[in-house]
Amino acid sequence: MANAEISTVPPPGIRFPAPESKLCPLPIDAAKIPAGFPSPAADYENGRLDINTYLIRNPVATFFFTVEGRSMEGAEIFDGDIVVVDRSITPRHGHIVVAFIHGERLLKRLYRRAHRVALISENPDFPPVEIREDAEFAVWGVVVGKFKRLPA
């Protein structure tokens, strides 16, 4: 920093004019000079697996939630799992959903058949939540995956 240059900029609050660029940068590797044979594997690149594309169908509409409790263990969703929630999927009977009801964020399986709407747990210890017509109820999104990091 010894020979750094100092210039004073008029101080209009905290707004910054763009200082002029004095450098004319050129790319270091603008021209590649070939040397030796190309790698025989060069044509087979781009094959690496990406967990994002595996778990997420529509990134713009996807949100993550942390699970707290054991009522969905029958669906293999455990306490501490992170679930992948896609709002762009229209919720249907049988989907595992995030539901907002009476001020709570719940994770349940959506039951919607005949005239019955209910939120079903996947654990016999937890009875279903029947949704009555006057309930403050909204399906927030549909669960499409889950993941967890393990200590190692």
């Binding site: 900029v9 101080p11 905290i14 940068p25 270091i28 939630f65 942390t66 699970v67 409790g69 994770l107």
Partner: protein, 429 residues
């Protein structure tokens, strides 16, 4: 060339709606969002608007009223709003590749070439997709110029014209438009505002229609070409086109007001270091280097009883860098030169500029070979740790550990979408 058609898409009660989206306890509850340092009301939910609590009120003045009405207040959670805003823009881009992000909650779309009969339906599908995918409500104004699209949006939002949050001026007859514009105050027009409106009133121009029918030449003489342009735009002759968005930032700015006034150099040093580290992280995210660093500090411009001081210094680096330590060293040196004792500082900020892609790096003749790669790895590690464990987990010692200078944000909601540690919790009970 097809007739130009613009849409302005605007999120209703954006900040308050973002807060409500993730918190089920807020359904039907009046919500306000406060400015930096919990100063004034900057956003209101529909329930608060219905209560008649005005925008821009200092929070301490309305706190009692808020309590009586059960209003819940939030500090500005810009991390959350920025993420939701980006998502909205992503959805809108699916409806038109030509898009101008006008503000955090408004975008212009170019819909030229669409079949006129289908425009309102198109607007409805925009609204429906944003609602389903992101849980936010938007209004869509459609017209043949940007100024008219903005006005159509206003009409949609205030229910003056159109239906279901969509207002398409191109589908309205001349007579319908005339009577609508005659009913809207001239100050509602985009670009007219509080300064110009009284002057127009003095000329007898009170409604949108009156301005549209005014003599453009006269307005140009009286004011400027800008006002003449507004008249043309109101007549449906587009004078403004969509402004392109620059993909990479040319400057990265990080600045904040302090929660409490700061007097000592050390607190300023910690604040500046923290700003540099945030800015440098953004710089590395876009895989760029900065060639210059600016540091600005100032006292409050509003308090007449305090001695005022402000200083802004810039240094060009001998070699462009994205290394937090190098940028910090430069910034702290500038700060040392700017700092004067005996002032109550209210704001500090940094700017990184002369930004260029990393691949254009020009090593200095005297730089140690190999060092850059090591530094880069160190910075990558730093970013990885901070993105995994939360911002500030690993930081430079110069950032300090006290944070007395940080913003006051007593009512901050969690970073629902951008931090693994603060994801919303789902009850499985």
């Amino acid at each position: 060339m097809p007739a130009p058609i613009f849409a302005l898409v605007d999120c209703n009660n954006f900040y308050a709606s973002c807060e409500k989206l993730f918190d089920p306890r807020l359904a039907g509850v009046p919500v306000v969002v406060l400015s930096n340092n919990d100063g004034v009301v900057v956003a209101r939910s529909a329930e608060v608007k219905a209560l008649g609590l005005p925008m821009g009120q200092p929070w301490f003045k309305v706190r009692d009223l808020a309590k009586r009405h059960g209003i819940v207040a939030f500090s500005s959670n810009y991390t959350l709003y920025a993420d939701m805003s980006n998502r909205v823009v992503n959805v809108l881009a699916q409806f038109s590749p030509d898009l101008e992000v006008y503000s955090i909650d408004e975008s212009f779309l170019d819909l030229s070439g669409h079949v006129p009969e289908s425009l309102a339906a198109y607007g409805r599908s925009i609204r429906e997709r944003v609602r389903q995918w992101l849980g936010l409500t938007v209004c869509v104004g459609i017209a043949s110029s940007k100024t008219l699209a903005k006005l159509a949006n206003h009409c949609a939002k205030k229910n003056l014209a159109g239906t279901g949050g969509i207002c398409d001026f191109t589908a309205m007859s001349a007579a319908e438009l005339d009577s609508l514009m005659a009913r809207i105050e001239v100050g509602e027009i985009w670009g007219v505002g509080r300064q110009l409106a009284p002057k127009l009133h003095a000329m007898g121009i009170r409604s949108v229609k009156a301005l549209r029918d005014a003599d453009p030449g006269q307005l140009r003489q009286r004011f400027s070409v800008v006002q003449e342009r507004i008249v043309q735009e109101l007549r449906g002759i587009p004078c403004l086109s969509l402004e392109d968005v620059t993909p990479d930032r040319q400057q990265i700015i990080s600045s904040r007001s302090f929660g409490e006034r700061v007097h000592d150099l050390q607190s300023l040093q910690e604040a500046v270091t923290s700003h540099i580290c945030r800015a440098a992280e953004k710089l590395r995210n876009q895989d760029s280097l900065a060639g210059a660093v600016t540091v600005s500090i100032r006292t409050s411009p509003f308090n007449p009883n305090e001695p005022r001081y402000q200083k802004s210094l810039t240094v060009a680096l001998p070699e462009a860098s994205a290394d937090s330590r190098i940028l910090t060293r430069a910034a702290l040196k500038l700060l040392g030169q700017s700092y004067r004792q005996g002032y109550a500082y209210q704001k500090a900020g940094v700017m990184l500029s002369d930004i260029r892609p990393r691949r254009l790096r020009q090593p200095s003749l005297f730089s140690a070979i190999g060092n850059d790669e090591d530094n880069r790895r160190l910075m990558q590690t730093l970013d990885h740790i901070n993105s995994r464990w939360g911002r500030g987990t690993l930081r430079l010692a110069a950032e300090g550990t006290d944070f007395g200078w940080r913003m006051k944000r007593g009512h901050l909601s969690p970073a629902y979408t951008t931090n693994w540690e603060t994801l919303p919790r789902l009850i499985a009970r």
